[in-house]
Symmetry: C2
Subunit: 126 residues, 2 copies
DNA sequence: CAGAATCCTGCGAGATACTG
DNA sequence: CAGTATCTCGCAGGATTCTG
């Protein structure tokens, strides 16, 4: 494995920044969480249905990126029409853990954040 | 607190999505992590220095957004020139915990991800 | 069914200049 | 020092069409 400076959040090459760029891309985290929650492999159309709102193009791109990162596997059944199954790798599953934490935090705290936003906006309004 | 549907990752109003949008915005997580790591309040210029690469405009926007969310406090010393201190609120500190987890994961796994990317690209090249 | 190929648009974010 | 106020641009991501 390539060595990287640890704890250097200020380096653009910093792993944390790279991860946040990835996780920040609108659908990545959701994709990992859906697969993790399901526990099994999912087919393209099943994923698309569950991630409502995503376009085919973007889903394809998201899956390719995750496959490239080694976070999920792509398995093609050579039937006609083809069936393609996506599942998390071990590393993908390990990423799901911190993402679940984040999700937990969000569910606990976002409503409060929302309220604070409203208060803040009301104050600034006058 | 406003009630929200839990576990509905598919709803655009879902708290997890909202959080990921926020965390995904390039500098937010880094800002929280820097303040958390420091443990004390930081002044605008200190923050700017530590988050190397960020522009004044974007730092201001980031801080405003976090203040609006109730994740950090803004304290102005009415001197001339003014000194402005930023610090995490309790909720901001609680967000730092899952972010640290993510950071930990990144430091452990991103080098491996990098290697996988290179392998993947080499295969696709031919 | 699972995509590939295009075209198009909004907005996040950088650069620059000015101020109390 | 700690901001506002503009201008600009790239590109993530959406819509649409076509295919093995």
């Amino acid at each position: 494995m390539t060595a990287r400076r640890r704890g250097d959040l200020f380096d653009p090459e910093c792993p944390t920044r790279q991860l946040l760029d990835r996780v920040g891309s609108k659908w990545t985290a959701m994709c990992v969480l859906v697969l993790d929650e399901t526990g099994t492999e999912l087919r393209f159309s099943e994923l698309k249905r569950q991630m409502s709102g995503i376009s085919q193009k973007v889903l394809t791109e998201t899956l390719r990126a995750l496959e490239r990162d080694g976070l999920l596997t792509r398995r093609v059944e050579p039937t006609s029409p083809p069936r393609v199954h996506y599942g998390l790798t071990a590393r993908g599953q390990s990423l799901a853990a911190p993402l679940r934490q984040l999700r937990w935090w969000a569910e606990e705290n976002m409503p409060g954040v929302d309220d604070h936003r409203r208060l803040y906006d009301r104050k600034r309004a006058r």
